[in-house]
Amino acid sequence: MAELREIDGLRLTILRGGGARFQAAVTGALGFELPEVPNTVAGCALWLGPDEWLVVSDMDMSEALEAALEGEHRAIVDVSDARAVLELSGADAPDVLASSCRLDLRALESGCCAQTGLARVPLLLEPREGGVWRFYVGRSFAAYTRAWLEDAMALQSISASP
């Protein structure tokens, strides 16, 4: 069994920058330290690159960040619309994912995240508590990604049936 749903209402912000001052200022604004370990999540920030994070929150963080980072070399870019958020859950979710995802899913647990490809679509994968797999995927690709996953779910349930 697996289930797929779309999550609405999250604010997504790309944050770019680096260095101690930057880190400190971000910590001040967000209340937690940005994850420095690649492919991990801290607070509400997901690691995307050595100087790049995705901040996921209920409210717009960009003003606070802009204010805190005044004078720093940084980028704060709202991508709330640019990416759709999907969540796949259920016992079959890993098998559904394995229909196209080439990551070692065994190595992924909550607290991690990974950018990768699924069915030729680039996306960001975040395993969450309770066996939930969250995807952040380019908005224009969302329909295709859903269709792919729904197809994989259907095949999975047929194969699983005796």
Binding site: P38, N39, L48, G49, A114, T116
Partner: protein, 96 residues
């Protein structure tokens, strides 16, 4: 299909990467000062060795960072991964 070690994300399948060809080809400081031959050398001429090749890869579906790789062009063995801007590391002779 190869597995390539992204210096940030670790080993990922080749399909996540874009290949960038030979590494360490510096864009000339002052192109105008170059002869047509020298410019052609920069633009087109490549080492293309059979053996260990210094090359660039970008983790396109991942962290989107470029990095350098030493890879054997026959065995496809990846013998070193190192950051952009650092010189090619010395290697003990590999028999691969």
């Amino acid at each position: 299909m190869m597995r390539i070690e992204c210096p940030w994300c670790g080993g990922r399948d080749e399909t996540e990467f874009h290949y960038g060809g030979e590494a360490h080809i510096m864009r000339p400081e002052n192109p105008d000062a170059l002869s047509d031959e020298a410019w052609a050398d920069y633009l087109f001429m490549r080492a293309n060795p059979k053996g260990v090749h210094a090359e660039r890869w970008m983790h396109a579906q991942g962290c989107r960072r470029w990095f350098n790789v030493l890879r054997h062009t026959v065995s496809h063995e990846v013998v070193a991964v190192y950051p952009m801007g650092t010189p090619r590391p010395d290697l003990p002779e590999t028999g691969a």
